[in-house]
Every structure is written in C-alpha cells, then in structure tokens.
Amino acid sequence: MSLNLQSAVPSGPIDQKWTKHKMESRLINPTNKRKYSVIVVGSGLAGGAAAATLSELGYGVKCFCYQDSPRRAHSIAAQGGINAAKNYQNDGDSVSRLFYDTIKGGDFRSREANVHRLAEVSVGIIDQCVSQGVPFAREYGGLLDNRSFGGTQVKRTFYARGQTGQQLLLGCYQALSKEISNGGVQMFSRTEMLDLVVVDGHAKGIIVRNMVTGEVSAHAADAVVLATGGYGNVFYLSTNAKGCNVMAAFRAHKRGAAFANPCYTQIHPTCIPVSGDYQSKLTLMSESLRNDGRIWVPTRSELAEKIRSGEISAGDISEEDRDYYLERKYPSFGNLSPRDIASRSAKEVCDEGRGIAPTGLGVFLDFRDAIDRDGRDSISARYGNLFEMYEKIKGENPYSTPMQIFPAVHYTMGGLWVDYNLMSNLPGLHVAGEANFSDHGANRLGASALMQGLADGYFVLPSTIANYLAEQEPGSVTESHPEFSRCLEETNTRIGNLVSANGKRSVDSFHRELGLLIWDKCGMARSSEGLEYALKRIPEIREEFWENVRVPGSGAQLNQELEKAGRVADFLEFGEVLCHDALSREESCGGHFRLEHQFGEDDPEVIDGRTQAGEAKRNDEDFCHVSAWEHTGVGTKPKLTREPLVFENVKLSIRSYK
C-alpha cells in the first residue's frame, strides 16, 4: 500500500485559496479549546510562535526544547533579515512577486498554494513583530528600512542590523514567556524528544528525556507539533548550532511519517572557509554582505597560487586580473545571485585552481569599492557586527583585507511531508518551520526562513490545527495507554545499548567520518557513482558505531556524550535516506546538483542563449514531483511515493539569472 499523500490544497483561484480555506476550516469554541492539549517540540521561530499563539487561543500547550532556555533556539543565529511583501519602497513589490520569486528561487519544486499563502501572510508578520517591540532598522523619518537579498530585484527585506533572527526570536520568546507566566504554556527546557507515540494511527504523544536528571517520561496530547529545525548537521560541519539534530523528525519518520525531498540541502555561498580538522562548526557571513561586497578570484591560477603561498596579497592584484565571476556570468543579479548558483560558481573557480584560501577552497568578498563609495562609517553601520565576528575568527580586518569565504551547509529545504494544513501523513502530527518540506522547493532564497518559520507558527498552524482537533475527543488518549509504556521501554533499551557499548571510539569521531563522507558524495556536486559508494559506506560506519562507540557515564544524569550519541545514531540512519533521495532524483535542481545532469555546449538552450553550459538541468517531465520516503526498516531502502507538483499559475521555465 502506498502512502496517502493528499495535499488538501483548496480549490479556487490561487489568491483566494487561503481566505477560502480559513472560512471553511473548523472552529472550536473558546470554552472547548481549553479541553484540548497540544505538544510543541522546539522553541524557535516556528515552535515558539506556535506555542505562544496556540496558548493565546486557549489550548493547553506543553513546549519542549533541548536548550537551557527557549530563547536559545538556533533561529537566533539568522543574520540578514526577513522578507515581506509590504512594498514600503514603492519598487513594484507585491504578494504575487514574492510568490513568483520564491517559486522560481526554489527551481519550481515547491507547492504553489503553500508558497502563495506564505507570501500573503508575510505582510502580517512584520506588523506582529513591530508590535512586540522588535527593533527593526528605521530611516530618519521613523519608518522601517529595507534591503535587498539574493534572487530578487526589489528591496523587501526587513532587518535588525546583522541580528534579525535574534530580535525576531526574542520577540517570539517574550510572547511565549507571557503565555508561560499566565499558565497557558508549560515549558520543558533541557528536555529532548526521543520518540513519537502513535496510537491507532494518530500521533498522540512523545517520549522525552530530562537532560539534567536523566529521567525518561511520556507525555500525551491531542496533537503533536514538531518544529525541530533542519538536518544540516548530518554533514558534521555546518552553520547549524552544535545541538541541532534530526532526531525528532527521524523518530517520527520511523513511526510512519514520510520524509520529503531530503536531497534538497542548501549550501550557503558566504561562510568562513574550513581551516583544519579540529574545526567544530562553520560560521556564516550574512548574504546581506553581498549587497555591497564584490566576490572575485584572480583570473589566472598562477596568481591564486601566489596568494595561497602568501607571496602576494589581494591588494597586489590589478583590476584587470580580477574575475568578478558572478557579475560576469549573471549581470542582472550579479553578486546577489541565489545561493545555490553562487555556491556552485565558487566551487567551479576553486576547482579551476583559482581559490585563494590556503587550502585552495576560498574566494574573496571585497568591500574596497563600497568603502571608497560610501565611506567606512556607513559600511560599519550596515555590517559592523559581521565584520567584528569575522575578525574574531580569522584574525584579519575586513575593512582593509578582503574577506575569504567559501560555501558551507546552512539550511535544509527537505523535511517531513505535510499537507496544506501542515499535517503530516500521520494524523495529528503537524510539522512547522525548517522541519517541514513545503515552501522552499529545491533552494531557499535569503531572508525566507524567518518568514516561513513565523508564518507557520503565528498564522498558519494555529488556524489549520483546528481541522484536526475538532474531530478528536479531547483527552481521549492518556499516558496510561499501553503504547506509551512500550515506547518508554524501547527508549530505555536504546539508551542502555548506547552507554553499554563500551567501545574505543568517541561519538564525534563517528560523526566527523559520516559528515565528511556525505559532504564528499552528497554535497555541492553529486554523481550516481559517489552516492552508491556512500550508500555502501554508511551502513558500515553505522555497524561499527553500535559496536565500538564509547559513551562514558550513565543515563541517570547530565551526560552530553549520551545526548550526542543518540543524535549521531539517527544521522547514521538518516544519511542513507538522504543519499537514496539524491540518487533517485535524476536531474539537477536548486541545491541538488547531479554531475550527470547539466547543460552542455550543444544543448539548444545554450546555443540560443537562454542558459549556459554547466548550469543545472531540470527534468520536468519525470521529476516535477515531491519525493516522499517511507521507512521500511533500518538498512533497507525506504519506499518512495510521489506527490505530483501542479503549476497552474507559474510557467515552468529555465531558471535564469542572467
């Protein structure tokens, strides 16, 4: 039997679907809402906003996060900004244009109706955040300022210096705190979800571990919301926080939830390059820097070699010896080309031997011209904190020496499959924010993650969840149901197996090995040969992990090695799903680039100038669909079900940024 993947997209014209859907959605009267309980896992923009808003509506909410406070969720690290179709700049922006940019940016691999709703809802997010006291950047007239991000030709990005994610998350955390203080939300910090409990086919609760006391316990509710972020840490090195993991989503997957499009991973073009194998994470330099910074490498590899060896520096390279390759290849978007394209271009020039970092993997992001034009002070006002961060990590001053940057894993567009109501194929299980798959297609545009997280949390989920809840008898399943004790026992056994393996290798050593493999074979460029190799190696690493991992201490207290071990164990299974998806998608689109599928010199599209050789070649005939994977057992190939993508409002075309 194949999965039931009904997208539940309402009928009617695209710009009326959401209004119509809200009108037709079930309502639960305020007195009855109190009888329903909802579990929200994750306290970032999507989870925090959902928990606060559901509580405002009257539902009883339990919210869980692994950090010591909900304020620390990784949404906090988003730098550049949040998109909204406010058209405060009068530069031709509109809901339709944000919708189109997002669909095109995602390389025509997202669901039209979801994206249109996102664009519609974006407008209200800014209003909401300002009313919470989020200190967005303002102009002297007292009104809000905007800047531009990749893949767009309008200024629709609202920002709070280089700390937009922090300010939005604090607004959200404060809204959540308000609901905690009035008793609507029960908050469980330093508590990690280890399993999903499914009763009669419905998600009815979770198993968690108190990370301080080690106590494992069960929580039942009428519905479960996962807002647990992405899986970028499967690569080990990424811009994610160290604790980010796929466990909650993957546990749900193992209990029956379909995982959609895992191969759509975003490699962000502007991160500080890797310098050694001691490194624990990579640091993003905001895309907003590309508003003023120019990306280049020397035209010749001999010059690059001299820079790498320290013989000469960037300043010694004359203007004619600099290749501003994004401006050359994509003149209309230039340095603000979308992330997937900018990343691949950086890889190309480095593969040609023109990289300038000591490892050969790095390009310049140069502010010389912007400083000459606008002055050092105004560049500092725009990017001061980012320049400081760069200097702290690299020990070089970007006002005088160009930054060195290279692409790094940043965001994952894939995630648990959801319908228009953000409900997975498991009734009762809802998924919001980066953890779901629905809005960004094969590539996410800059400043759209914050928009999606808050859209899902503040506006979409609180409205759509009632469609499920209204059909449930509140409190009908409790922790006394035998399924809860069965899941508790399984979780305890798993913890026991980890601490008793008593092998020789640390958890991190396995994680690094897996990450390097996935980066090599399923990173910026993928091939069937490489993916097949990865699919052979991952089970071997996993097998060694369970035999030879060393987790010191016990499960009965704070044990950070145990926490990591549980997460890495899941990455070791999830990595296979990722590679199976990448292998089965015989096309290149967005963040998924298959070496076998690129335009060549002889293709008609290249000859007639619509695109150029080496660009990603989509296959709309065979792959214009969502790939949803169903778990079939550890080490066995997951089962694929396709949800066709229907484009009624946008014409599929070659995604050109020339």
């Binding site: 304020r71 620390r72 690290a77 809000l144 308000k178 926080a241 020990g395 503040y458």
Partner: protein, 250 residues
C-alpha cells in the same frame, strides 16, 4: 600550542567540586577556546575518563548558551567576546588557564561547568514582554519611531542572556540583564503602556530569584560580550522609582 588547564569538576549539584589539572597538547593556533576543550575531551574519552561538561550551542556568539569563567573573568579577557568566539591565538604557548563555572547563588551548578540559569526565564516571564496577541497588530509603519530611539532600543535588545554580568558582580546582581530588557521595551511606544508594571514586576522577580543588589561597580558592563551599557541600570532605577511612586499614590 600547549597549555595546562585547571578545570572545575563537580559531579552534580549535591556533590563537592574541585579543580583538576589537564594538559591541552598540540592545539592548532586557529582553534577556538571551545574547540580546544573538544580536543581535550577527545583525549579524556580515549583515556577512559569522564569528559568535561560545558554549555555551548551556536558557537557564533549569539545564542548565549556558552559560559565559563576563564582566568577569573566571565567569557575571558577579550572585550566584547563570548567564550565560543574566543580564540587560542589570544593566549601564549605554555599558559596555565583556569576554567570555572559562572558562579552565583542564583545559578546553581548542574555538572562541572554547566549551571542553571533558568532564573533569567522567570524574570522575563514576570514582565519582559509586550502583551499583544497574534493578529492584533496595527500596520508596522503606523507608529513612526525615531531612528535614535529605535537604535537605542536595539542596543539594549542585543543582550544574549548569558549571565556573565551576574558572574562578574561581587553581589551577583542581575541588574544589567533586567535593565537591558526593561529599557528596550519601556522606551518604545509599543512597550510604554506596561512600563510601570514591567519595572516593578521584573525587579521583584529578580529579588525573589536570589540575585543581589547593584552597587555600581560596572563589572557587568566590562565583561558583557555584547557591550550592553550600564546606563540601562540607571534608566531602570528611574523607571522603578517613578512606578513605585505612582503605585503608592494610586
């Protein structure tokens, strides 16, 4: 590079802690402080020992999860830097480095260098918000705010809630943390209606959590990784006094 670490080890909140010595050998000069600890922990695990527990998450200086008192200074001696952004190139080869938790009565030790800072959440829950429901907001440009006011609010709002201010203060006062949030919200039109309640309730929650009083030594400002100004403390004192008077006269 090579270092000698003197690290606070404490099995849990109920047991007594002590300083233990560890060599940190062959540390790359580009490594961050936490990466240096990662390397030491790998060695400890390899030798069959129990790794040093410390809080960290984003490692980009923004989540506020990392702590550590390094050579007696919360987040170490580099100005405006969190522990996770501190790099070993700022130390000398052969240095002895003392690493202890953020110490304060209101921050009990959980294990080794990990402390419980949930008191900060309770203070925010007492009034560090604007009471606005989702969906009830007017257009974002309906109320103009001067750029200066917006910038000041932003400067206060950049607090990451790490608790270094408390750990640096001889009274373990949380006034810099509390006042940063209060002045962020109190001086914006959106936060003004709840200004008095906010000042009174947050200060009360701070006292109840066991933080000490501010005696104007400005150690908090000196160690703050986000350079939050102690002027916020003066602003909160003013808001508090005005609110207390208005309450008494009401």
């Amino acid at each position: 590079m090579n270092f000698t670490l003197k690290v606070w080890r404490q099995n849990d909140g109920d047991s007594k802690g002590h300083i233990e010595e560890y060599p940190a050998e062959n540390i790359p000069i580009e490594a961050s402080f936490l990466e240096m600890l990662d390397i030491v922990n790998e060695k400890i695990i390899g030798d069959g020992g129990s790794p040093i527990h410390f809080d960290h998450d984003c490692r980009e200086g923004i989540c506020g999860m990392c702590s550590l008192t390094i050579n007696g200074v919360p987040h170490g001696r580099e100005n405006g830097t969190t522990t996770c952004q501190l790099h070993m190139r700022h130390f000398d080869d052969g240095d002895t480095i003392w690493i202890e938790p953020f110490r304060a009565g209101a921050f009990p030790v959980i294990r080794d260098l990990v402390v419980d800072r949930s008191a900060f959440d309770r203070i925010i829950a007492a009034g560090g918000y604007v009471s606005v429901r989702t969906g009830a907001a007017p257009d974002a440009n309906a109320i103009p705010i001067t750029k200066e006011d917006a910038d000041h609010a932003f400067d206060s709002a950049t607090c990451i809630g790490c608790g270094a201010c408390v750990a640096a203060c001889k009274n373990s006062s949380a006034m810099l943390f509390v006042s940063a949030k209060a002045s962020h919200l109190n001086h914006l039109p959106q936060g003004a209606p709840e200004k008095d309640r906010r000042a009174l309730n947050m200060v009360q929650a701070m006292d109840e959590a066991g933080f000490g009083n501010c005696s104007n030594h400005y150690e908090c400002e000196a160690v703050c990784p986000k350079s939050i100004s102690a002027d916020n403390v003066a602003k909160l004192n003013r808001d508090y006094a005005a609110a207390a008077v208005r309450k008494a006269l009401a």
